[in-house]
Amino acid sequence: VQEAVARAARQAKSEDLPTVDLEHLEKVLPQL
């Protein structure tokens, strides 16, 4: 969980967005 949450948050940050959405999670999910 920690890894999923940390990666999704980083993805959102990299797109300068304030909220982590499903798109960010979707992008990191395959790595997980």
């Binding site: 304030p18 909220t19 499903l22």
Partner: protein, 89 residues
């Protein structure tokens, strides 16, 4: 459902921690998706652990089974090994 609810609640708390740490918010849907992944992945973990123990002709799952579970990533294996040594000591 109770177990799932407890997992979902805990995932929410972990998201809150990271949210505060990184100054970011998590949508409810994202938290729901993470807890759904967690729950279904835990089902796979449970099956694997049971298989590993049974393969060693044991009826009790032990830390060696968990290390085997983490074998595909050296970092994760190191982390799990360190944690199990801490627990053992």
């Amino acid at each position: 459902e109770r177990l799932k609810a407890a997992v979902h609640y805990t995932v929410g708390c972990l998201c809150q921690e990271v949210a505060e740490e990184k100054g970011i918010e998590f949508s409810k849907q994202t938290i729901a998706a993470v807890s759904e992944i967690t729950f279904s992945q835990c089902e796979i973990f449970a099956k694997d652990l049971e298989m590993f123990a049974r393969h060693a002709k044991r009826s009790t799952i032990n830390t060696e089974d968990v290390k085997l579970l983490a074998r595909r990533s050296r970092s994760l294996l190191n982390y799990i090994t360190q944690k199990s040594e801490e627990l053992a000591s």
